[in-house]
Amino acid sequence: MFEEKDDTILARWLAGTLTQEELAEFKNSKEFAEYQSIVTASNRFEKPAFNKEKLYTNIAAKRKNQKSTKVISLKSISYVIAVAASIVLIIGVFFNNITYKTGIGEQLAVTLPDNSKIQLNANSKLEHNRFFWNSNRNVSLNGEAYFIVEKGSTFNVKTNYGTVSVLGTEFNIRSRKNAYNLICYEGKVMFKQNKTEKTAVLTAGKSISIINNDFNEATTTKTSPSWLKGISTFDNTMLSDVLNELRAQYGITIKTNGVDLSQRFTGNFVHNDLETALKTVLVPMQIEYTINKNILLLNSSKE
């Protein structure tokens, strides 16, 4: 049969693209008349009525209507939520820390979210989370601070030297350059050194200092640090450390001129009178000094 010659030949006949030979062959086939009748009859079909203007008016009306009730796709809602969440997260990450700082000679009283009281000594910095205190009970300290912890409250105080874990207690931490000193006045604290992971438990009246990575234990009979009353007290402390504290309280520049900074000092100095403070520290150590404006020049009288 002609129609079986290939699978598009009838379509090509309809489009008038058969070759002369093909067309002649087709016209001779007995099916030709039947196909011709179908095509002729199908030409009588009319397109269904189409009211274009009415349809366009309908569409225009629907377009307008949906403007007032425009559907916001879920995709864009979730996009907005994602952006909002990111902003909250960024605020959380970058603005989550509360920082307390004291300048030279300043002191600052701080209350933690659990009502624990902290007194911050001069030239010190204390940080803790603004949010989520319950899940992150960490306070970081650089400098010196006295903690009066609410009973039943626990948190950690992190310093460059180690971490103090507290449980309803009173204690003082002094974490300065090359000096760490922890005194427990009430209750119990645990100290864990960063470098060695060595731990020490301090009960009331005990203190430790770190000297060359070793714990140097001592006792005290005081019930609170003297610096709260404006006096810095030292017990067998390296001179360099004492001078650091003088800097923190008075903001002076110190030129040591070869004076032996490893000698030990036991005593105290006041925070409100530089002349007196220098006398009380340097005279017993037999160190000559001159003070000009804010510059302290040391001369060892031993040499």
Binding site: E3, D7, T8, I9, L10, A11, R12, L14, A15, E31, A33, E34, Y35, Q36, S37, I38, V39, T40, A41, S42, N43, R44, F45, E46, K47, P48, F50, K52, L55, Y56, N58, I59, K62, R63, Q66
Partner: protein, 169 residues
């Protein structure tokens, strides 16, 4: 995209509608046999085109409309009979003898309509778009997003099936 070619401009949008709404409606009608449903789908497709006018290039608007319309069919269930009016006065038929169809012409038309009804929809839409809407194979290939060869095959099969169906009735 140049602004002047944006589908978002009313006159461009209107042009797309003028050029393609009827053929789209007819294509949908030949598929589902329900004029109202066909027009509803045309409406929805054009509204979607408007809502996405920034994303659809003017020259791609036609393909977009057909793609949207075809998707609409996945949700449609009912298929009705395609009813076409035909000219009461038959055109001058060629002088070729048609001995096998000694029936009344209207009777033949009914048989043809029934035969068209029984075609698979792919063949039916190609046959009717060509015979009624005078779409060329190339145009249909563009509209339906298939090759011209595929359209020709469908037309070829449609003619064979129509002949056999009419003969067997």
């Amino acid at each position: 995209m140049k602004d002047s070619n944006s589908v978002c401009l009313e006159h461009n949008y209107r042009k797309v509608f003028d050029n393609h709404s009827e053929e789209l409606r007819n294509y949908l009608y030949y598929r589902c046999g329900d004029l109202q449903q066909a027009e509803d789908i045309v409406q929805d497709s054009f509204i979607k085109l408007w809502n996405n006018c920034k994303k659809v290039l003017l020259e791609k608007a036609r393909g977009y409309l057909y793609a949207i319309s075809k998707n609409a069919f996945y949700n449609e269930v009912a298929h009705k009979k395609v009813i076409l009016k035909y000219a009461k006065q038959p055109q001058k038929i060629s002088d070729i003898e048609t001995p096998e169809y000694k029936m009344e012409e209207d009777e033949f038309m009914v048989k043809l309509e029934n035969a068209i009804q029984s075609l698979p929809e792919g063949q039916r839409e190609v046959f009717l778009l060509n015979r009624v809407d005078k779409k060329t194979y190339k145009e249909m290939a563009e509209m339906l997003g298939v090759s011209q060869k595929a359209i020709e095959k469908r037309m070829h099969k449609a003619l064979i099936k129509l002949r056999l169906t009419i003969k067997n009735i």
